[in-house]
């Protein structure tokens, strides 16, 4: 998948910048107003660093967000942007992407914005495969409204709205996206700049809907939500297409398919590297990606695969829709064609 220029790429059709841009070009004049230490800063910085590398024109970049702390993101990037209403960013972005084939369209959303009020728009954008790239900032909490539990909070979560503990099972955003026919699904972490850059670059280069879940720390209302990943016997499970799935400090652990068909964690040295499951992000059937998504903990997160779970080519909704639409380039011609339609066949003259 080439990054630009190719018809297959997510940025195909987006004009290239004439002179190289730098991160300052993507910094707006608005004061950034997240809490000190918020994970959103890291993602913003990475994003501003990554944008110039894409080589596209700044004015052809559009960022649409919903409402939430993370959804303030577009204000800070000097591109076209819209801070819309709660949960609706994928719908707005669908309109933008359908209307224009020359824009790089990003959606910024939170776990509440995307999965609570906005769940339906998200799953429909994914199944349609609209050419948009969705950054889902998952801090497992409602930040902006000051700390209620979210659809990704672990069961038993004590928050202002659940003083006796929340009682619902959280969504696994990756599983949900795969169940919704998503063509590109990935996960990364706010503070891992290189990984974030790599995943976001792949996501925007994917032609179609790309969902990127970003684990993001909210030091104010859910501090350390992802600290479990740093404990002993825990950690991120990096997924790399074509490579065996290994993790742990020295890659000493690995995933195998057991005799009963399930995936299990083993010590690599005990079973041998050749038995370790090789990741295949391009497999047409989403089942493997789904199985891998289940390696994520639903409670306190101690283990979680990161990287690209799935990345398959499928025509995009907006490309297919555009292919059905045509319009006379010349405006007089357009009007005369329309005159024909409006007049119709069954007329009489007085």
């Amino acid at each position: 998948m080439t990054m630009n220029g190719s018809n297959a790429g997510g940025l195909a059709g987006v004009p290239l910048a004439v002179t190289p841009l730098n991160r300052k070009d993507f910094t707006s004049d608005q004061e950034v107003r997240w809490c000190p230490g918020c994970g959103d800063y890291a993602v913003l910085a990475t994003f501003q660093g990554l944008m110039p590398q894409l080589g596209i024109k700044r004015e052809n970049t559009v960022i649409i967000s919903g409402i939430g702390c993370s959804s303030r993101f577009p204000y800070y990037v000097d591109s076209y942007g819209m801070h819309s209403i709660h949960g609706r960013a994928p719908a707005l972005a669908t309109g933008v992407a359908m209307a224009r084939d020359d824009l790089a369209v990003w959606v910024v959303t939170g776990d509440g914005d995307a999965l609570s009020i906005g769940g339906n728009h998200l799953i429909h954008a994914l199944r349609r495969n609209v050419n948009i790239t969705i950054m889902l900032f998952n801090n497992r909490i409602y930040g902006l409204t000051k700390g209620q539990y979210s659809p990704t909070s672990e069961q038993g979560k004590l928050t202002k709205s659940t003083p006796a503990g929340s009682v619902d099972t959280p969504f696994n955003p990756i599983s949900l996206a795969l169940g919704a026919e998503a063509s590109f699904v990935a996960r990364t972490v706010d503070s891992h700049r290189a990984h974030l850059t790599e995943v976001l670059t792949a996501a925007i280069s994917h032609r179609g809907s790309a969902l990127v879940e970003i684990y993001q720390n909210c030091p104010i209302f859910n501090d350390g939500a992802f600290d479990g990943l740093k404990g002993p016997d825990s950690g991120l499970i990096p997924l790399k297409h074509g490579e065996p799935i290994r993790f742990g400090a020295d890659g000493e652990l690995g995933i195998v398919r057991a005799a009963d068909g399930t995936l299990q964690t083993v010590r690599v040295d005990e079973v041998g590297l050749e038995r370790i499951l090789v990741h295949d992000a391009h497999r047409a059937d989403p089942s493997l990606a789904f199985e891998l998504s289940r390696l994520t903990d639903a409670g306190t997160i101690v283990n979680a695969p990161v990287g690209i779970f799935r990345d398959v080519d499928r025509p995009t909704y907006d490309d297919l829709a555009r292919a059905q639409v045509s319009m006379a380039a010349d405006s007089a011609q357009r009007l005369s064609e329309l005159q024909g339609l409006v007049t119709g066949a069954d007329t009489w003259t007085v």
């Binding site: 024109k57 209403i85 007049t343 007085v350």
Partner: protein, 618 residues
């Protein structure tokens, strides 16, 4: 020989089972009527169920056609002629037939079982209960079968052509030419010659039956109506609306983007526009009404003309996003094809009770222009006007039509698109700020803000739902700025009145004391009722509001110059409330909330009483 009586107008209703092809019959007869030069207005009426069980009252489908030698405004209250293809059709429609009206009934289905099914204890065709009407009952089905017998169709297919037999008969009765229908059938069934020939044979046989039988004492003719010269077509409100939107986009040079979620009676606008993709129209069937308007607003942000079409329940869902569009100050057209509410209500019935929702159904001070179409053909003008205002003023615009306009049809003098006014989107292409920056909320003389679309270099900017600083559009919590912006948004919408025709009263004699004010589809009944009242020698004034927000200049003076103001509405008095609040005049609601257009006869009679009351006060 049958006499030929000349009438000035007739209302015919075709009624049968959903599967009987009444809509097609009605439409064909309408077309012949149009070709004969009459003015006309039609109203189809579908059962609420997709396919209610055959032969039941719930399953009756009907089509009403009003045609005349003058310009008429409504499909008529009470039909003069009822064509009833079965007992259910008779049962369902008899109540509305004018006293002494004509009933043409196909006796074939009047079996004991079918009669019982719809609650007839005995056969009304023979038990004398229809004595007050002119009844023509005969076995139309059998006659049709006989007529098409030689064409080798199965019985079922043969029976299917009986609607064409009825059509042929009516053609004869009202002295219409059958040729256009024969041509139409030849074209429609070109691929299926036996069906084609059977239908053609049925039309001819029906016509011949009228000609040869002595059943019918009278034949009628209605002269052509005097209409301005031009090329005409028949058009329904939903189609006119779709074309108006397309014309608006074309005249502005913008692609048209429709985001919609199907809902009765608005779905056809989606269907029509989905068929017009070669004219630069993108349609998006969204997952719900919120996504539909969201995508439309996104498309507008990207430089299309974004439109969304729905009915009451969908309007309720769109409220929040309309509020966002108010804040973003982007063009957006929101069409509400009203139906009877509240809640799911009566989806296939008409009503005008979403006016206050259109005006006020948003949180905060969120003013939106509201345009209401007066007739099926006027939906074109209303939609075009909405496009002009939305684009020129960068504002969402609500267009109100209703089920009656949407499905009803009338003749339409086809406009010359080239001569419609151009619309200038006036995209910002260069910095407009003092320091070479871009001020997205800098305004022109009309208070419209600068609109730069993605892809325009140097004009990168962010918009959003938080209050905007005047000019810069940055987030602002400043109390004075908020008050200023609330005021500016209100002033912008109020200012549109300067750009619109002044209020015009229709008061031919100049001495009326009673003024009837309407909006939307009550235009038809009010105009027709006023005509009747005037024919009775009474003076009455009428005034129609195409634009409900802002109200037209000069309206207050007109209202204050009448002694009595009557506001007929298919709601509990929504416009009346607005007029009272705005002008402090005692506008009185004339409310009819029955899921049906206001009855011309009833309104005319009531107006006469009111006029006499006012005269008595002198």
């Amino acid at each position: 020989m049958t006499d030929i009586t000349t009438l000035d107008h007739v209302v015919i209703r075709f009624a049968g089972d959903s599967g009987d092809g009444m809509q097609l019959t009605g439409n064909r007869f309408t077309h012949e009527t149009a070709v004969a030069g009459n003015d006309f207005s039609t109203l189809p009426n579908f059962p609420a169920e997709i396919r209610a069980p055959q032969g039941t009252v719930a399953g009756v489908s009907s089509f009403q056609l009003h045609f005349a030698d003058f310009d008429i405004r409504t499909p008529g209250d009470a039909p003069n002629v009822l064509v009833a293809m079965n007992p259910a059709a008779l049962r369902a429609n008899l109540g509305e037939l004018a006293k002494g009206g004509i009933i043409i009934a196909d006796t074939s289905d009047f079996t004991a079982r079918n009669l019982a099914k719809v609650g007839y204890a005995s056969d009304p065709l023979t038990d004398g209960s229809l004595d007050g009407y002119q009844v023509y009952a005969f076995d139309l089905t059998a006659q049709t079968i006989a007529a098409v017998a030689e064409l080798g169709l199965g019985r079922k297919d043969a029976v299917r052509t009986r609607n064409m037999y009825a059509l042929g008969l009516l053609n004869w009765m009202y002295s219409r030419p059958v040729e256009p229908t024969l041509e139409f059938l030849a074209h429609k069934f070109a691929k299926n010659p036996s069906v084609r020939d059977a239908n053609i044979a049925a039309v001819k046989a029906g016509h011949a039956f009228g000609e040869t039988t002595e059943l019918f004492a009278t034949r009628y003719q209605i002269a052509a109506a005097p209409v301005p010269p031009g090329t005409y077509r028949q058009i329904s409100g939903n189609r006119a609306l779709a074309y108006g939107l397309m014309a608006g986009a074309a005249k502005a040079g913008l692609p048209l983007f429709l985001g919609a979620y199907p809902i009765t009676p608005a779905s056809d606008v989606l269907h029509i526009l989905a068929n017009a993709k070669q004219h630069g129209v993108t349609t998006f069937q969204a997952e719900d009404e919120i996504a539909a308007i969201g995508a439309a607003l996104g498309a507008s942000f990207a430089g299309n003309l974004g439109v969304t079409v729905t009915s009451g329940p969908g309007m309720a869902l769109k409220s929040e996003t309309i509020g966002l569009a108010v804040m973003l100050e982007l063009p957006l057209i929101v069409v509400d094809v009203q139906r009877a509410g509240p809640s799911t209500g009566m989806p296939t019935k008409t009503e005008q009770a979403d006016l206050t929702q259109a005006l006020f159904g948003r949180h905060g001070e969120a003013p939106v222009p509201v345009i209401a179409a007066a007739s099926p053909a006027d939906c074109f003008e209303a939609a075009f006007e909405a496009a002009r205002i939305a684009i020129t003023y960068r504002t969402p615009v609500i267009v109100l039509t209703d089920g009656y306009l949407a499905n009803g049809a009338e003749p339409w003098r086809i406009p010359d698109l080239a001569s419609l006014p151009a619309i200038d989107p006036g995209f910002a292409t260069e910095p407009n700020g003092p320091d070479g920056g871009f001020l997205p909320y800098a305004r022109d003389a009309k208070l419209a803000r600068a609109w730069a679309i993605p892809g325009t270099p140097e004009l990168e900017h962010r918009v959003g739902g938080l209050e905007k600083a005047d000019g810069t559009g940055a987030i602002s919590y400043d109390p004075a700025n908020h008050e200023r912006m609330v005021g500016l948004r209100a002033a912008k919408v109020a200012g549109i009145a300067a750009d619109l025709p002044h209020a015009v009263v229709d008061d031919p004699t100049g001495d009326a004391r009673v003024l009837v004010v309407g909006w939307g589809s009550t235009y038809g009944p009010i105009t027709a009722a006023a005509r009747r009242v005037r024919l009775q020698g009474r003076a009455v004034a009428t005034l129609h509001l195409r634009q409900v927000n802002p109200l037209p200049t000069g309206l207050g003076e007109i209202l204050r110059s009448y002694e009595r103001i009557v506001v007929p509405e298919m709601n509990l008095g929504q416009l009346a409330m607005v007029l009272r609040a705005t002008y402090l005049v005692d506008a009185r609601s004339y409310s009819r909330v029955r899921g049906l257009p206001i009855s011309v006869g009833e309104l005319a009679a009531d107006l006469e009483t009111i006029i006499d009351e006012e005269l008595a006060k002198r």
